[in-house]
Structure formats: C-alpha cells, structure tokens
C-alpha cells in the first residue's frame, strides 16, 4: 500500500494529464445521451456520465492539492516522460506556479461541472467528454516543460474549446464560433513560426535549456531569435486578450453558454502563464542581448488593456458582455503586474490572477442565473420584470462585484494593493496607480449601474419567471464566490505562496539544475544540425537519466 502510494505520488504530474484524458475516453465509450434526457437508456447514460465526470474532477482537485502541498516545500518535481534525459525527451515540471495553476483549474472545474449537470450538459452532444479534454489540455499546458509540447496542449485545449463554444447551438454561437476558430488557427500558425525560429537559433525547445542558451545568442542571430519570441508574445497576448488582440473575447465569451464561459475564464490565464514562462523567465533577466525583451511593450499594452476592458464594461448592454469586458480588464491588471518584472509584482500578479479567475467564473454563472429569472429581457441591461430571488441573487452580485472591482476586504482589493505596493520606485508608477485605481472605480460604476437596473429598476407589470433557480445552480455559483472569500481569509498563506512562486520562477539556475541534471548546465551551443566532432549524439551520450519524479 505504501509503495503504491509512493508510486502514485511519483507519477502525479503525468496523472494530472492522464486522468482527464482517460475519463474523456471512458465517457466517449459510454456514449452520448442522444437527446434523450428524460427516462430511457439515454437518460441513464447521462446520469452515469455526470457521476464519472464529477468523480474525475474531484479526484483531479485532490491530486492538484497534493501537488501544491509538494511544491510548497520548494521542491521542483521533474517527470521525464519515457525516462529520456532532459533536453532530448519531453519533461513535465511542477514548480509552485504550475501546481498553483493546476489547483486553480480544478477549483474552477469542479463548481462549473456541478453547475453544468443542472441541465446544460444535455443541451448538446458529448459535453462531459469535451470538458475533460479541455481540462487535459489545460493541465498539460501548465505542467509541461517543453515549448513544442506546450503548443500541442494548446491545440488540445483549443480543439475542445471550439466544440464547447458551439455547445447548445444557436446561430450566434456558430457565427461567433467561426470567428473564434479562425482567429485561433491563425494564432496557432504564428505559434509554430515562433517556435521554429526559437529552435533554429538555439537548437532546443526545452524551457530550462532555452534559458541556458538564449543569453549566448548574439548579433544577427539574436534579432531573429527575438523576432520569434515577439511572435510568441502575439500568440500568448491573443490568448490572454492583451490589447489590441482582445476584441474577439467579449463576443465569444458572451455568446458561449454559461458553464463554458466560466471554464473559459481559465483559458485567458494560459496566455498569461505562457508570457510569464517564456518572456518573463527565458527572455527576462540575464538573457544576454535579449534581456527583458518584452518589458517596453508589455506594460503599456497591459495598461491599455485595463482601460479598454473597463470602458467596454461601462458600455455593455448585456450582463454577459459586462462580465466578459471585466475579464479583459482583470487580465490587463494581471499583465500590468507581470510587466513590472519584479518578484513582488509577480507575487501580486499570481495572487490577483487566482482571485480574478474565480470571480469571473462565478460571475458568468451568476449572469445566467439572473438572466433566467427576467423573462424575455434575459441578460439585457434594461428595466424588466423583477427576479424571483432578489435578495439571494442581489447579495451574490454584490459580493462578486465588490471583489471584481477590488473593494476591501475582498481579495481583489488585497491583490491590487500588493500590485500598487510592488510598483513603487518603478518609472511607470504614476501610470500604474492611475490606471489600476481608475479601473477599480469605473468597474464599480459599471457594476453598480448593472445591479441597480437588474434588481431595483424593475417593472412589476411585466411577467417574469416565477420559479427560482435550483439549489444545485445556486450552490455551484456560491461555491465559486465562497472560494474568493476564502482567498481573502487565507490571504497571508496564499500570498506567501505566490511570492515564493515568483521567487522560484526567477531562480533560473536551480530550475536548470533540476531539469537538465548537474551536467546539463554548460553553455553548450553545439546544435544538432551543425556537423562537428562534438555533436551531442544519441541520448545515450547524455547524463544518465535520473528516475522519474525524484
């Protein structure tokens, strides 16, 4: 038993990817409900799909918590797939940031899936299997230590998201979905060009190895390398909705069904994660001629993202669009912190990112709960019939809005405070303070306007929907909002963890030592394609593989 547990612990990074993928296969084998959601075989299949999917995400949550516990000690878990030594084989690396992102994904996935079992999963085909594939892509993107592997997991999560986007059908979803797919395919093409340029100039795609080799690339080679890295900024910026690449997000997220939009809240964070990993670490400090490559671009663009996001929120005509624009503003705030390029700011960025993901996911679910009770008006921000549960939904809206706008004592406030503190002594400090505080104030106005229209400015004569939301839907939404409150209660340990995660990120040497092994740290620029006597030949010539997971 003890050895079995030990084995499981050793393979946790891989299991985090395998569990959703195997669950998805089982769900596909089990089959679809086939439109038969009331009685009959299809109904049984749907019930079993729900049970299996829920059990799987709960197990995923447990595994993510174990990984966070393991990473909190500062240990880097390196899992060599197929036991190939590092720069040659693919490695999965779990550091504090990866573990935290895995936990965040699970914390969003569990309530969202629970919410979806309230009926959305029967409005289209194979919802549960696609949801699991999406989780597989997300988890894989967060644990991989290889740039091309990151591309592959990006594609996995994107392909799942293309289908989930159209889940529930409807002409708007297909039209917006087509835009979303085409734009993402173009982004994927740019991703490949960027990856190929990086490979051409460094001869490696392993993050640790890249960090070792990038400083050695100089002269005209460095220009091409930087072009590749900047192309990747376009790709990650597109995913993260960085202005001017954010215009697709509001329409897409507002058109998606509520649980899908809530799950997509984590997808923008994949872009942020990519920027931190590649542009923050590999092209960060000590990168030789490419040092702080994106610093002059990232901060102004991120500030612009905040402004555009909040202006969009003020102009939004539906509650879903309002939340979608607030997503853009929150990503902008996270990227402002990332763009400051200090440990303290990154700690703030990670804390704020965790909170804003949970809040935004909760608000997408809440938007649908409110819309469902307003009769024909739906989520439109105009006077209509009163909702049937004004106190409950109003309080939830107040809590979510206060956290999104950053009112004390909620975690949005703590995150922004950490960010403002971290920006002191930076040349852009006045701009950062103005934008972050202004965005908080304007989001408050936008949310207050929405809230007063939805809950106070009602027309009693218009018939509404009498039935309240089912306890399951309320419970799932509350769970997400409660998680943000918990982030405020446990702010001290969580912010200590994120600060440690930020420090671990910039410690490139221990990362390289853990991934490449003691002999791996040599600025060996021999590339495989240049025939020379010192070609690093077959993997056998490389340092002896350490056992996986140690």
């Amino acid at each position: 038993m003890q050895t079995l547990l030990h084995e499981v612990m050793a393979h946790l990074p891989m299991l985090a990817v395998l569990l959703p993928s195997l669950t998805a296969v089982v769900l596909l084998l089990l089959g679809d409900h086939g439109g038969d959601s009331h009685g009959g075989h299809g109904h049984h299949r749907l019930l079993w799909s729900r049970r299996i999917a829920l059990a799987s995400v709960l197990l995923g949550l447990l595994m993510a918590a174990l990984l966070v516990q393991q990473a909190a000690t500062g240990e880097l878990t390196v899992y060599r797939v197929g036991d190939w030594p590092a720069p040659y084989g693919i490695v999965l690396v779990v550091d504090r940031l990866s573990a935290m992102m895995l936990l965040l994904t699970s914390m969003v996935a569990v309530p969202v899936l629970w919410y979806a079992t309230g009926g959305w999963d029967s409005h289209g085909r194979h919802f549960h299997a696609l949801f699991q594939f999406q989780l597989m892509g997300l988890n894989g993107a967060f644990v991989t230590g290889d740039l091309f592997n990151l591309f592959v997991f990006f594609e996995v999560l994107l392909i799942a998201s293309y289908v989930l986007m159209a889940h529930g059908h409807g002409r708007v979803r297909f039209r917006v979905g087509l835009h979303y797919v085409v734009l993402n395919l173009v982004a994927s093409a740019l991703f490949l060009i960027g990856v190929a340029l990086l490979y051409a100039k460094t001869g490696t795609l392993n993050f640790a190895d890249l960090a070792v080799r990038v400083p050695g690339v100089t002269g005209p080679d460095a220009a091409l390398l930087q072009a590749g890295a900047l192309l990747l900024l376009v790709v990650f910026g597109f995913k993260a909705a960085l202005v001017p690449l954010s215009m697709w997000l509001p329409a897409t997220y507002a058109a998606a069904s509520a649980p899908v939009a809530a799950l997509f809240a984590i997808m923008t964070k994949v872009g942020v994660y990519g920027i931190i990993r590649l542009h923050g670490v590999v092209f960060g400090a000590d990168a030789g001629p490419s040092v702080f490559l994106v610093a002059p671009l990232l901060l102004p663009l991120a500030l612009a993202t905040c402004v555009v996001g909040v202006l969009g929120a003020l102009a939004a005509r539906t509650l879903e669009r309002l939340v979608a624009w607030l997503t853009v503003a929150s990503v902008g705030t996270v990227l402002v912190a990332v763009g400051l390029f200090t440990d303290a700011a990154w700690g703030a960025a990670l804390y704020y990112m965790a909170n804003s993901t949970l809040v935004v996911a909760g608000m997408f679910l809440l938007a649908e709960l409110v819309a469902a009770q307003r009769g024909d008006a739906g989520a439109r921000l105009e006077p209509a019939s009163p909702v049937s549960q004004p106190v409950l939904l109003g309080l939830m809206m107040l809590l979510a809005g206060a956290s999104a706008a950053g009112l004390p004592p909620l975690p949005g406030f703590i995150g922004k405070l950490m960010l403002l503190e971290a920006s002191s002594a930076h040349t852009w400090q006045p701009a950062v303070w103005t934008v972050v505080l202004g965005v908080g104030f304007l989001s408050l106005i936008g949310l207050a306007r929405a809230g007063s229209i939805l809950f106070w400015h009602v027309r009693d004569e218009v018939p509404g929907t009498a039935a309240g939301a089912s306890p399951k839907l309320i419970g799932a939404t509350t769970a997400l909002l409660a998680a943000t409150v918990a982030m405020s209660v446990f702010a001290a340990p969580i912010s200590a963890y994120t600060a440690a995660a930020a420090r671990q990120l910039v410690d490139r040497e221990s990362y390289a030592r853990a991934v490449l092994g003691p002999q791996g740290i040599q600025t060996n620029t021999t590339r495989p394609y240049r025939f020379a006597p010192a070609v690093p030949a077959a993997p056998a010539a490389a340092p002896v593989a350490q056992e996986a997971g140690r």
């Binding site: 091309f148 592959v152 594609e155 392909i159 293309y162 289908v163 159209a166 529930g168 059908h169 409807g170 002409r171 708007v172 979803r173 297909f174 039209r175 979905g177 087509l178 835009h179 797919v181 085409v182 395919l185 173009v186 994927s188 093409a189 490949l192 060009i193 990856v195 190929a196 340029l197 490979y199 051409a200 507002a254 058109a255 069904s257 005509r317 539906t318 879903e320 669009r321 819309a371 469902a372 739906g378 989520a379 439109r380 590339r527 495989p528 394609y529 025939f531 070609v535 030949a537 077959a538």
Partner: protein, 126 residues
C-alpha cells in the same frame, strides 16, 4: 545561380502572402483555403528551420553530415493537428452557413442592413 535557400524562402513567403490575402476575404470558403495555405507554408518553414540538406540522413550513424531530425518530427505533429483543425473548421463553416443562411463570415450578406446585429448583441435566444 539562385540558391536553394532563396527559392524556398521566397516560396514560403509567396504562399503566406496568398494565405493572408484569402484569410481577409469575406466568405468562409476562401477563409478556409487561406488557413490551409498558411498551414502549408508554416509546415515548410518548420522543416526549413532544420536547415536545407540534400542527401543527409537524419540518423546519427556513420559519418556526417546529418540532417536535423527534430524539425521533421515537429512538422509531422503540426501536419496532423493542421489536418484535424481544417476538417473541423470546414464542418463549422457549413453549420454556420446552414444556421445563418449565408456563407459570409459575419453571417450577414453585404447590402443587408444590420438588423441581425442587434439580435446578436442580446445573446442566444433564451
């Protein structure tokens, strides 16, 4: 004598230019064609990043020179993914055509007024 590198590079550039031109068209079919062309150009680009060799084996056995095997492996993955996504986007374009009654990517025939747009703003029918 034009070098191989020049030919391949300008060929990739030309295909990318065609792909981008088609991508910016208004009908979904040309957009799909543009995506395919872009995908082909990217595949050749990845392949060329291992440098252009002729008659060099990608296996390290015997005397060199050797071609770099990694871009060849990468390009296979990229081809498979590109194939799958192209298939999907064609299916999606067909569904969008079916639902919206037009193959314009915005779902509105040019010349028609934007009445649909307001409906779209309100979100999917509840």
């Amino acid at each position: 004598m034009i070098s191989m590198e020049f030919l391949v590079a300008s060929g990739i550039g030309f295909v990318v230019a065609c792909g981008i031109y088609l991508l910016l068209r208004g009908r979904s079919f040309t957009v799909v064609l543009g995506l395919s062309l872009l995908g082909y150009a990217v595949n050749v680009f990845i392949f060329a990043m291992g440098r252009l060799w002729s008659g060099a084996p990608p296996i390290l056995e015997g005397a060199g020179p050797f071609a770099d095997p990694l871009p060849q492996a990468l390009v296979l993955t990229a081809i498979v993914i590109g194939f799958a996504t192209t298939g999907f986007v064609i299916e999606l374009a067909l569904r969008s055509h079916h639902e919206n009654g037009t193959d314009q990517v915005d779902g509105i025939e040019p010349g028609e007024d934007g009445e649909d747009r307001d409906e779209a703003e309100r979100g999917p029918g509840r």
